[in-house]
């Protein structure tokens, strides 16, 4: 049975259904419905909602709850996402599972509080300093917010990484029919130690390069630090240990790649021109692609559901057989840089950009495709 559900509320329902029992946040447009719904729904399932004094404290509280054993998340928008970068790095290095939702609005700074953008996508990859693993998912619809929020929890718990879910204001506030009973929930428990507390080495990885994580308060005493550390959790500057840690943090995500990376496509089998787009821009592109194909034009859509890591092998395979790739996004050109890097000359790469506080439209995409095709002729 379908019901009309808002994107931000679908996010909350998915989080709770996926085991989230702690939320700390500082409400900010256009993510506020997430905090509002969490405040109402978490207590009903025995969970805890905390409104914090700011976004740094919010993610700090989430990390504490997570170390105590609870799947936990926070939600914010650009200004708060900037403030959270420090703790995202801490979570990456200390390997603390957490989910961060960023409902993107126009930036930089306070920017356009109620208007959409996709300007945070490179910040999601590189916003915190230092090399670090990151998982960032980019849903384009209300049902997909539900499924990818759930996947974010599963990946975060399994890989002990911060998992980010990024979507623009339009998708966050969009209401559309959803039949929750038909949607997929992802399940993954974090692995806990099986050794005695005295033998526990908190950063000694298992075969999948992920160390088991003990819940605080269960007798496993260990040191959690933002300093680079050894397998016992003690700070170290030993180059061999430091280098091995950084490589392991990257490699644990790389090894799980096939469970992390996904994309959706339309017409990729015969397309001559392919649009790459995510979030609401992908829905503008979907409309443009469907209309063009109805006219017999060989246009396709490549829609990443995972932005980081990017579906690079899959896009490269597409690039081998098309003339042109048009990247449509609501910023002044961010993911297009990644696409150029991946395509590396196999096809022409053009950008279709909008950064004026309104959503990219099907006409924008159609015009960009027509002008790319005109340049070919």
């Amino acid at each position: 049975m379908s019901e009309l559900l808002q994107g931000n509320r679908a996010c909350v329902q998915a989080a709770i259904a996926s085991g989230c029992r702690f939320f700390a946040g500082y409400p900010i447009t256009p993510s506020s419905e997430i905090a509002e719904s969490m405040a109402r729904l978490l207590p009903e399932v025995g969970g805890v909602f905390m409104q914090m004094e700011d976004e740094m404290a919010s993610l700090g509280a989430v990390l504490g709850a997570s170390l105590a054993g609870s799947p936990a998340m926070t939600a914010t928008s650009g200004p708060g996402f900037s403030l959270m970068q420090e703790h995202i790095g801490y979570a990456a290095l200390a390997e603390i599972p957490c989910v961060v939702i960023d409902v993107m609005r126009g930036g930089p700074s306070t920017g356009l509080p109620t208007r959409p953008s996709q300007g945070d996508v490179m910040q999601a990859r590189w916003g915190t300093h230092g090399d670090h693993p990151v998982v960032a998912l980019v849903p384009a619809s209300v049902p997909e917010i539900y499924e990818l929020t759930s996947l974010a929890f599963a990946l975060s718990e399994r890989l002990r990484v911060p998992a980010l879910v990024l979507y623009d204001e339009v998708v966050g506030h969009l209401r559309e029919p959803v039949d929750l009973g038909t949607l997929r929930l992802s399940r993954a428990e974090r692995r806990r130690p099986t050794v005695e507390p005295s033998a526990y080495r908190p950063y000694a990885p298992d075969a999948d390069l992920v160390p088991p994580l003990a819940d605080f308060g269960t007798g496993y005493r260990f040191h959690v630090t933002g300093l680079t550390h050894d397998e016992a959790g003690r700070p170290t500057e030993d180059p061999a240990v430091v280098g091995a840690l950084h490589r392991r943090l990257q490699e644990k995500v790389a090894r799980a790649r096939d469970d992390v990376v996904s994309f959706a496509g339309i017409g990729l089998e015969d397309a001559e021109v392919v649009v790459v787009a995510y979030g609401i821009a992908a829905r503008a592109a979907e409309r443009a692609v469907t209309d063009a194909r109805a006219r017999g034009e060989r246009l396709g859509l490549f829609r990443p559901r995972t932005l980081w890591p990017f579906p690079d092998v899959e896009l490269r395979a597409v690039a081998e057989r098309v003339h042109t790739i048009v990247v449509a996004e609501m910023n002044l050109g961010q993911v297009v840089l990644e696409v150029e890097r991946i395509v590396a000359g196999r096809a022409r790469v053009e950008a279709c950009l909008r950064a004026d506080g309104t959503a990219l439209t099907p006409d924008d995409v159609a015009h960009a495709v027509a002008s790319a095709a005109g340049a070919l002729a």
């Binding site: 009309l4 447009t29 109620t114 969009l174 559309e176 439209t361």
Partner: protein
Amino acid sequence: MTELRVRVAGSGGQGIAVAALLFADAAVRAGLYATHSQAYGPESRGGASKADVIVSRAPIAFPIAARIDVLVALTRAAVERYRGDLETDGLLLVDRDAAAPLDGAARVVPLVAEARRVLGAALGANLVALGALVAATDAVPLAAVEEAIRAHPPGGDLERALRALRAGLALTPVAAVGEEVRAG
């Protein structure tokens, strides 16, 4: 016509998004596809507010309407900003206080005045507008609209909400815009 594109527009605090939401919710309850997307300024009161509802017999790829079949305008600014997006045979439902002589084919209805008359306050003009919209289009059955209101009574006052809706229904003669959407 396989889809009906409706924009409700006015000023922040008038319940623009709520009126549009109830229309979309009713469409889904009637077994149709519908999307509701909204745009508003940073002010909690005042500033421009609009919501688009697309009702269709098929899934909707892009939820923001470039061209619209119906514009329900509660302010003069909304008329001026969006009437250019109306299809040439589209319907402009405009509040009497926001209408101007140049509106031509517009259907001028006393939305705010009716809210004042039946509810004693301008607050509720959004539900009068919803009633006028339901009567002026034939995409979404009234029973489904009432069901949506019962499920989420605005302001928590069902009787008051239904009174405003009925006042709106009486304002416009039944028209056939969007009939094909409902009929399939």
